[in-house]
Amino acid sequence: MSTVILLTLTGLGLAALYFLVASGLSLVFGLADVLNFAHGLFLGVGAYATWWAAGNLPGAGADGLGFLVAVAFGVLAGSAVAVLVELVLIRPLYSRTIEQVLVTVGLSLAGVALLQATWGADARPFPRPGWTRDVTSVLGAQVPNAGLLLIVAAAVVLGALLAFLRFTRYGLIIRAGVENREMVTALGIDVRKAFTLVFAIGGAAAALAGALGSVYFGTVSPGQGGSLLIFAFIVVVIGGMGSVVGSAYAAVAVGLLQQFVNYYGTSGLGDLCVVGLLAVVLLLRPQGLAGKVAHA
């Protein structure tokens, strides 16, 4: 019994991590129609910026309030880089979808290499509050606190994104802009601002995922984002491109599936099952679980 609880809760922790990565990806893809391969870079920036802040930024540190400051700095940095990328690289290429994807591919190559050039290829210990290393006993299962932290963060992010889409006009503008930017401008709306905003939010979500993911792993390394990204892609697609809620469902499905199959089946089967799930979902419902575009 306690094994099942343990697997469920850690599986949810994994799901939360996937969701954090996928949410930004999904938002940017669903709203701005950019399949963002550079998302891993934003993730890395968030993680390294947090790591750097904890050691160097006055007021920031590895514990308590200082940690919050460090994470906030990381999130800001990720967001800033995302905005910069949007302004400089993506914006001039709007309506040229494929080229946008390609630029993000180039960026993911160059960006990760840059992180590696600056901080080396090896993993570095990540500053984190002591309690995140401990476990909480839930009905006999020793659940890592870092996993619980991820779950809470994912829930907050989900709520915030939904509120953004539902209660602001931006959701509408961006969805329309994806279809036909020109026409949105012709309605008197500065669509560029809205797109920059989406990137800022996507970057922030990615950076948060990077920072909290590093808390979970205990280390930060340049390639971290890339390996998470594949699963995040799978989550986004299973969930239905651009649906934030869909991504949440899909993340839970993928996280739990992986965890349970890895325990009860043989090694590596978990990954195969996830890929299989993707194929099956797409063949039965090519639009993904949640179907429609960003119907929050």
């Binding site: 001039p92 390609l102 180039g106 960026l107 594949i230 993707l278 797409l282 063949l283 639009q287 993904g288």
Partner: protein, 371 residues
């Protein structure tokens, strides 16, 4: 506005296929023979001892240079084959690496583990790879757009996992599998015979270019070009889009498998690098770098990309880079950084790829001439 816009991939920034563009006027004089001339020049290149310092480590006929060129040529062919899907039919596959890897590992395993003679292994591999592509394509093509891209990615990922798992010690897992050369024709073994591998690669490239060219200019190619623009329309004209896409997919994948066979011989083994989705991404990069939907663009893109990929490691450790201040020399010593940056710049400043260089330079050239 179409109804299902959301899940569509925009067609690539396509060029009109050369083969279908009108204008006999363009085909005057020696132009038709240009590819042949290029082929002959490429074929006799190994007889040259010219030294191109900075571009190659040694003279043109040195094994190192020929080896590098051979790899570049294979990837030129691979990119041209991928373009049949991407540039000419508008299908975005993220799983092309799978069929290339099938070629590499198929040959290697059949030769090294099963001890088959090379020609049998090659034949079996290409047949097998093509059948695999037909089967997986038949399933994947039930989806379109990004969904198709993701299903192909998923299949390729399964391939990568299987190779990494190293079932029965067949693939060597992450360490890869060196090719057992004892049963290979002597002409393909040893550094002194690198030139034969070069010619093999050249032959492969020529084959792919010929096939892609012929197919694009054929009635089928016309349909593929139509599919890129409007699939529904093709159906209403009385043609089954699914069949044509499957043919293009299978053909391109078969060519990739053949490329894998050649690559396996050139490199003398298999390593899991070839199964990664990054390989497909770099194919995409090559095609776009060169110019999708054009005859020579993808070939040039593939060659250039691989050249940079190999040579940048030398560039990164060169004195010129090391003498720079740290904030420059560190990133520059990362080949991927340079490659990524070059690529971004290329997307920016050469939207039509290398192939568009000529038309973009035309105004400049004519104005120069006028002076």
């Amino acid at each position: 506005m179409t109804e299902v816009k959301s899940a569509e991939v925009a067609a690539p920034p396509a060029a009109v296929p050369d083969e279908l563009t009108p204008g006999h006027a363009r085909w005057h004089g020696l132009r038709p023979y240009a590819p042949l001339v290029a082929l002959v020049v490429a074929a006799i290149l190994p007889y040259s001892t010219v030294n191109l310092p900075g571009i190659f480590e040694g003279p043109l006929n040195s094994p190192g240079t020929l080896q590098l060129l051979a790899i570049c040529l294979v990837f030129g062919g691979l990119a041209a084959g991928y373009d049949l899907l991407f540039g000419r039919t508008g299908m975005l596959s993220f799983g092309h690496a799978l069929y290339f890897a099938a070629g590499v590992y198929g040959t290697d395993v059949l030769v090294t583990r099963a001890g088959l003679p090379l020609w049998q292994a090659a034949l079996l591999t290409v047949t097998g790879g093509t059948i695999l592509a037909a089967l997986l394509g038949a399933v994947a093509l039930r989806t379109v757009g990004i969904a198709f891209a993701m299903v192909t990615l998923a299949f390729a990922q399964v391939g990568a996992i299987l190779v990494a798992r190293d079932f029965g010690g067949l693939t060597g897992g992450e360490e890869g599998l060196p090719l057992d050369v004892s049963g290979l024709p002597a002409a393909l073994v040893g550094v002194t015979n690198t030139v034969n591998l070069y010619w093999l690669a050249l032959a492969y490239l020529a084959l792919v270019v010929l096939v892609v060219h012929r197919v694009s200019g054929s009635p089928t190619g016309r349909v593929l070009a139509g599919l890129r623009d409007d699939e529904r329309r093709i159906g209403v004209l009385g043609l089954d889009p699914y069949r044509f896409k499957l043919v293009a997919f299978t053909l391109a994948s078969g060519l990739a498998t053949a490329g894998g066979v050649v690559y396996c011989l050139i490199v003398g083994g298999a390593s899991p690098h070839v199964t990664s989705s990054e390989l497909t991404l770099s194919l995409l990069v090559m095609v776009v770098l060169g110019g999708p939907g054009t005859r020579w663009g993808p070939v040039l893109g593939g060659i250039l990309y691989m050249y940079l990929d190999h040579r940048l490691t030398a560039f990164g450790t060169s004195d010129a880079v090391n003498s720079l201040p740290a904030f420059l020399s560190h990133p520059l010593s990362q080949p991927l950084f340079v490659l990524g940056t070059v690529f971004i710049l290329a997307v920016y400043f050469f939207p039509g790829g290398l192939a568009s260089l000529r038309t973009r330079l035309q105004p400049v050239l004519t104005s120069l001439r006028r002076r």
